[in-house]
Symmetry: C2
């Protein structure tokens, strides 16, 4: 009977913690929810922590003291991330994905909730040293990845619009030059979407010359925000010099050849090296 209760508690605690990564839950939360003593809950947490670590899926972090508690910190083990990214590369090299203009069709992948949530975990693992208050993206295709990254950090998502929208109140707009098409675009963000001096992490699906990311940086400066990092799903190898520094791309796209129907794409070097070190 005692055995049963432990198992049930573990199922309940696992669901609660994993549903809100990096969110601190007090031990009292669980003692009240599960009508169990603190010592039991502590042991349960130890078991869950061990299991997550042994599977390479993250860990629990315990903070002691009156304001303390426990939280689930996602962290995909290096080779699991790499395996997952390699699978995606396998799909992306399918010549049927090649679109006119040298683009690759990838909406079926980045709009898949399982894939985007896994990529969110990969981003959260890669940026695990950062503590952003907000995840920032610009509409539209980066939204699923950015939302799932926000989920892994348990912080709100802020979506920059590519025009100003009546239903969001006063907004700040900037013009930016798209690095690849050299066209001038506008992006804007509602004043109330982001407080001043926030710490933000920018997430997007694709970077070529970095014009859009540069625009987001400039817009963030208007809000006196501190940009802690930039993460993109796919970055092109060329041009080597982007309009922003210090971005992280999960995959690097070397070539899309519309004539030979060839796509060359691979996990980024930093990720490959990181995994080898381990």
């Amino acid at each position: 009977m005692e055995k049963m209760r432990r198992s049930e508690r573990i199922a309940a605690i696992t669901k609660t913690l994993l549903e809100r990564p990096r969110q601190l839950f007090s031990l009292n939360h669980f003692t009240e929810l599960l009508l169990s003593a603190k010592s039991n809950i502590s042991e349960d947490l130890g078991i869950i922590d061990e299991t997550l670590k042994s599977l390479g899926l993250g860990q629990l972090e315990t903070i002691s003291g009156a304001a303390g508690g426990v939280k689930y910190v996602p962290g995909l083990r290096g080779e699991l991330s790499l395996e997952f990214l390699n699978q995606l590369c396998g799909k992306l090299t399918n010549p049927e994905r090649i679109l006119p203009g040298g683009f690759i069709y990838m909406n079926d992948l980045i709009f898949d909730p399982y894939i985007s949530s896994k990529l969110g975990e990969v981003f959260a693992t890669r940026f695990s040293q950062l503590t952003p208050d907000y995840i920032i993206t610009v509409e539209t295709k980066g939204i699923p990845l950015a939302l799932m990254t926000a989920h892994s950090f348990s912080v709100p998502l802020v979506i920059i619009r590519d025009n100003s929208n009546v239903s969001e109140g006063s907004s700040v707009s900037i013009n930016y030059v798209s690095g690849s098409t050299r066209q001038i675009h506008t992006m804007s963000l509602s004043r109330r979407a982001l407080p001043e001096h926030a710490k933000v992490l920018i997430i997007d699906d694709f970077m070529k010359a970095g014009g859009t990311a540069r625009g987001m940086m400039d817009l963030m400066a208007e809000f006196n925000a501190q940009v802690l990092g930039i993460g993109v799903f796919i970055g092109t190898v060329e041009p080597r010099t982007k309009l922003v520094d210090n971005y992280v791309s999960l995959l690097e796209l070397e070539r899309v050849d519309g004539l030979t129907r060839e796509v060359i794409i691979r996990p980024s070097q930093t990720l490959r090296l990181k995994t080898k070190e381990v």
Copy 2:
């Protein structure tokens, strides 16, 4: 020792199943992952199922036979859904949310990954009898809710664009008249985003006259898709007659008064009644 192993298995199985709702996992998947006998895994699944049910958070569904397995079916107990929706109503009635034009600012809520994931569970519970192949939305504000609903169903999300986009190949466009502003807009969807004859569930953040939903229905007809249902987060009480039938709104918005600074909003009647019946 045996006790420890069971607890660890439960933590691992819970994480695996909850991460991919409605996705069928064979028992072999777990016997291999956890190096444990089928009989043990079956008992573990029973414990997890009991726990989820007793907490009102869904259940496991077991399918027997060679192609069988187990899946987690999200299902928020009625009063938990209602409590959550009531909390959101409390936030939405804050007069500071009133924007010029009688709009309510709610991006901070619907772009919050925890809130949108809970709303996804509420939609999945409300539409639990449906088996959509795809969740459909139109950019931009409905995307987080639609993605999280797609996550709860473990099906892909398809995003209709409000203009045609170069990087998605050939697309089908339709014109539609926004029910509230009477303006003509265009929405389009890449040909390859949706196969013919798919079963779809439409999810959006807001419905007033239903013009956008009507447009989505029309666009779906171009793909010979079968629209199983329409779910919106907030529907206005007026106009009573919408341009689409059979939609489900989680909240009903009766009034936004810019002068008296009053917002009247509540969980929809069907949800309130459903809960009372239980």
